[in-house]
């Protein structure tokens, strides 16, 4: 299944808390947390048969006093499964984001491939982002990696854009689009346009 879940105020998002994938089943899931939302969500994905694949991406756009806490647990219970997670967060004003991603590879789940990445941009000195990538591996023939970065807008990018006459605020918007583009590309056009406008 290929699903996009959008968490916005006053609307049901339908995000399940548990997803089970049997042999050969494929999941493509994209989660978007809109600005102005405070929420806590936890999703557990179980890969229970060989050939199951989970491709999960998330995007948090947080501002004001938003408090967002996301927890994603990937359980590789069977060997020969693949999982990929990519999380991008923008934290502005006094927003706080926490992301915890656990990849658990069960004993005997050989030939597991798991990739986990989480990247955050801090847009204000009062914003904070906490990333907790965790790997728990009980098999020996696996390919697992994780990476987490938290940073600020790249001043060289900003200068390049401004040197062409793009005003500072618009340059910043283009930089934010650049940062979230890997997730933006997974979204339907109208939603991608709405997000680009909201930045």
């Amino acid at each position: 299944m290929d699903k996009v879940f959008v968490i916005r105020n006053g609307a049901a998002d339908g995000l399940p808390s548990r997803i089970v994938l049997e042999a050969g089943e494929k999941l493509k899931l994209t989660l978007v947390v809109m600005p102005g939302v405070s929420c806590e969500r936890s999703v557990r994905v179980e890969l229970n048969g060989p050939g199951a694949e989970a491709d999960i991406a998330g995007l948090c756009l947080c501002e004001g006093k938003d408090r967002v806490s996301l927890e994603l647990n990937l359980e590789h219970n069977s060997g020969g499964c693949t999982s990929r997670q990519l999380f991008k967060s923008l934290a502005d004003d006094a927003a706080k984001v926490s992301f915890s991603g656990l990849v658990k590879v069960a004993a005997g789940a050989q030939k597991t491939k798991a990739l986990q990445e989480s990247h955050a941009l801090l847009l204000s000195p009062d914003a904070s982002v906490q990333s907790q990538p965790q790997l728990e591996i009980y098999a020996d023939d696996v390919e697992c990696s994780h990476g987490a970065t938290t940073g600020y807008l790249n001043p060289d990018e900003q200068f390049y854009l401004r040197s062409r006459g793009v005003p500072e605020a618009e340059a910043r918007r283009l930089q934010l689009i650049s940062f979230i583009s890997p997730v933006l590309q997974r979204l339907p056009e109208d939603l991608a346009a709405e997000l680009s406008e909201a930045l």
Partner: protein
Amino acid sequence: MLLEIKGLHASVAGKEILKGIDLQIRRGEVHAVMGPNGAGKSTLSAVLAGKPGYEVTAGSVLWCGADLLKMTPEERSWAGIFLSFQYPVEIPGVSITAFMKAAVNAHRKAAGLPELKPAEFLKLLREKMAFVGMKPEFASRSVNEGFSGGEKKRNEIFQMAMLNPVLSILDETDSGLDVDALKIVAEGVNSLRSPEKSAIVITHYKRLLDYIVPDVVHILKDGRIIRTGDRSLVEEIEEYGYEKFNG
């Protein structure tokens, strides 16, 4: 006078790089600034374009009589200054079209003109891409992402053609280019030359100046212009190197 630099001193991270630059450029003139590595050539171009982190500690820069150093990078662009970067920046996920649309419309707004209609903008974009020999598919590619060295430099000259500057500063535009790419870039620059337009060509080598022939040549060494002459100075440098020139 188009550009008037007087006694310019500038520092980066507390270290003085420019130690008193005097330089005057009139409309229609092409100036070459040559010098060894570490002389301050790129610092000079960065200061003129307004790159953050470069602190001017003394001196002045006038642009058509106005204080250039008080202007933001975008205001300098609107005023007609263009810097072709030595290392163009990659911006994944932002297309050349989106980038240029933002740039061109900001220029038009600053000039009190309405935004271009989408069809007018696309026509301009295609025309200028063809002008520098860029393939049309580059329009939808992310800015500089995965471009070869030559493609990046060509993209700089394309942006220059789009924005039609009064003063173009070419910072080591020849670095990393093979002869064919160099010729294309030089042709692009030369075809933008006019009695109204000026350029500063910053380079280490004579090579680019065989194609873009300068009116005035300066040697920049250890943060100072130690010699100014006509194009015959280029030959002298080629023959003797920078060693023999001392301030």
